[in-house]
């Protein structure tokens, strides 16, 4: 049996890029939690702006990417607005790539 790790999931989600900001959703700090239950992966994430027109594309894109991970049979991605996204949630790479300031 293939063991699915959170690191593998996050690495895969790095393939999903927010097209407006040009940075992947992991380094943007949009991923709130990853839950792995046997072959099913559930991800809770947010977006930088409520009402973002890319909302459904990014959510579905994340699901598509997860289904490509070895061993993942089912994937669920849920978008939440609480807590709201803050630039401080970004990684250093994300901040450098987007020019978003912490304060």
């Amino acid at each position: 049996m293939i063991t699915i790790t959170e690191a593998a999931i996050l690495e895969t989600l790095r393939q999903v890029v927010d097209p407006e900001l040009g940075c992947n959703i992991v380094d943007l700090g949009l991923i709130y939690s990853v839950t792995i239950t046997e072959a099913k992966v559930s991800v809770v994430m947010t977006l930088t702006t409520p009402g973002c027109p890319m909302h459904e594309s990014i959510r579905r894109g994340a699901e598509n990417a997860l289904l490509n991970v070895d061993g993942v049979k089912a994937a669920e991605v849920k978008v939440v607005w609480d807590p709201p996204w803050q630039p401080s949630m970004m990684t250093e790479f994300g901040r450098a790539a987007t020019g978003v300031a912490i304060n």
Binding site: M1, I2, T3, I4, A8, E11, T12, Q15, V16, V17, D18, P19, E20, L21, G22, T48, T49, P50, G51, C52, P53, M54, S57, I58, R60, G61, A62, E63, N64, A65, L66, N68, V69, D70, G71, P87, T98, G99, V100, A101
Partner: protein
């Protein structure tokens, strides 16, 4: 996606033709504007370029900005056909100075506008959370309806109805010509130049400026990762702009000295808007401003000279001589080609990449590496276009003040070059629809489990 793009491409084509017209006939800006060719080219810019793009963008942006769905795509498709027939016919007939046919094509355009107003108004009814942007959009719908009504009334007033005297026609036709005579009689109470200026202000300020102000309260925070800093200030700017416009319309129409007070009220409204915009930008989390936003913000900065000109031209008992006539030309040119067009180009650099990306790449995200929006066009072309467009504006305005045809031709050629960079970038973006640029994902592969 196809419909907003059809409106936008129509608009771009009209912009290219309009700018080319000015390059070929620079005298249009170097002499006073009350003639058939100036009115024709102005309607080409206003209806063909600005209205086409604004209406197409509204079908796309209003649902996004107000988090709802467009009421009817079918009505929007019908409006596109009516708009196309209406504005092309109007420009053609203005040029031929056949006001009867202007009225006929104008009626076709008006039918399209009424479909547009109805469609967006029904969309507004489903807005979950009413806000300042929704108020501005609703106000803009009112003013565009008023503008079209005023425009048609002007056309009606310029027609003769003598040929209908002896017609033994059906009651319906009699009623119609009777109604047209009444409108013409009412309009004859006002000075022709004043009605034209009042009509122009309704469209330029009521529809275009109102939308620029209102929509930017949603889009600028969205693109710069910021928030509206004072809802009261934002609402105040929209309220005062409406009051100023209503007052300006009446005072321009009646040649009242109160015109200056109304212009100053408009300046206060725009100052409030500028204050709020600066506050939004200061609070932004995204420090780098892309060229699309730079174009838009430059358009807002150009509101300063346009407002200053509005105040000067509203001065009581200002003599109408060659110089002030040329200042009126500069006011109209800088307002429409400077403020409104530059703002639209800035927003186009946000809307077109989104439309193309959404149509071509939104289903491939997570399955392949897809380009970001900024990778769909050339930023260096945006920069080149920005500087050539601005240089062209400056040269054209300077030349128009001094009635220099050669100067206007040089300035408009620079503007045309700026527009060419936009057209090329749009073509580059559209090429993605035919030849998508994706790369395979570099997926994480789990190590082969040890059979032991």
């Amino acid at each position: 996606m196809a419909l907003p793009l059809a409106f936008i491409l129509t608009g771009l084509l009209a912009l290219c033709v309009g700018t080319g017209w000015l390059v070929l006939q620079p005298g249009l800006l170097a002499t006073y504007h009350y003639n058939q060719n100036v009115i024709a080219v102005t309607h080409l810019f206003v209806l063909g370029w600005i209205c086409s793009v604004v209406m197409g963008a509204m079908y796309q942006l209003v649902p996004v900005a107000l988090e709802t769905k467009l009421y009817s795509e079918r009505l929007a498709r019908w409006q596109f056909v009516l708009h196309l027939v209406g504005f092309i016919g109007m420009v053609w007939m203005f040029r031929a100075w056949n006001m009867k046919q202007v009225g006929h094509f104008g009626s076709v355009l008006a039918l399209g506008v009424s479909l547009f107003v109805y469609n967006i108004a029904r969309t507004l009814r489903s807005v979950p959370k009413w806000n300042v942007t929704a108020t501005a959009v609703a106000a803009a719908l009112f003013w565009i309806s008023f503008t079209v009504t005023a425009g048609l009334s002007i056309a009606i007033a310029k027609c003769s109805y003598d040929s209908t005297e002896g017609l033994a026609t059906a009651d319906g036709v009699r009623t119609l010509t009777g109604g047209l005579r009444l409108v013409a009689g009412f309009m004859s109470r006002f000075d022709a130049l004043s009605t034209m200026h009042a009509h122009a202000h309704l469209g330029g300020v009521g529809f275009f400026t109102m939308l620029i102000v209102g929509v930017s309260y949603k889009l600028i925070p969205m693109f710069t990762l910021s928030e509206v800093q004072s809802k009261a200030r934002a609402a105040g700017s929209i309220f005062l702009l409406n009051i100023s416009l209503a007052g300006s319309f009446a005072t321009i129409l009646l040649r009242s000295p109160w015109k200056l007070a109304m212009a100053l009220l408009g300046v206060v409204a725009l100052a409030l808007y500028g204050w709020e915009l600066v506050a939004i930008l200061r609070a932004r989390k995204r420090q780098t401003l892309d060229w699309g936003i730079k174009y838009f913000l430059t358009a807002i900065v150009l509101l300063f000279p346009v407002s200053a000109l509005a105040v000067v031209l509203s001065w009581p008992r200002l003599p109408l001589n060659t110089f002030t006539g040329q200042l009126e030309n500069v006011y109209g040119f800088l307002g429409l080609v400077g403020v409104v067009s530059l703002a639209i180009i800035g927003m186009l650099y946000k809307i077109v990449p989104f439309l193309v990306w959404f149509a071509r790449y939104s289903r491939q995200i997570g399955r392949a590496q897809v380009p970001s929006l900024a990778e769909l066009y050339y930023a260096w072309l945006q920069a080149l276009g920005y500087w050539t467009f601005l240089s062209g504006l400056a040269v054209t305005c300077g030349a128009a003040v001094f009635s220099s045809e050669i100067g206007v031709r040089i300035g408009c050629s620079f503007v045309a070059l700026g527009i060419a960079t936009l057209a090329f970038n749009v073509a580059v973006m559209l090429a993605h629809l035919i030849r998508p640029k994706t790369k395979p994902l570099t997926l994480h592969t789990a190590p082969v489990p040890n059979p032991a």
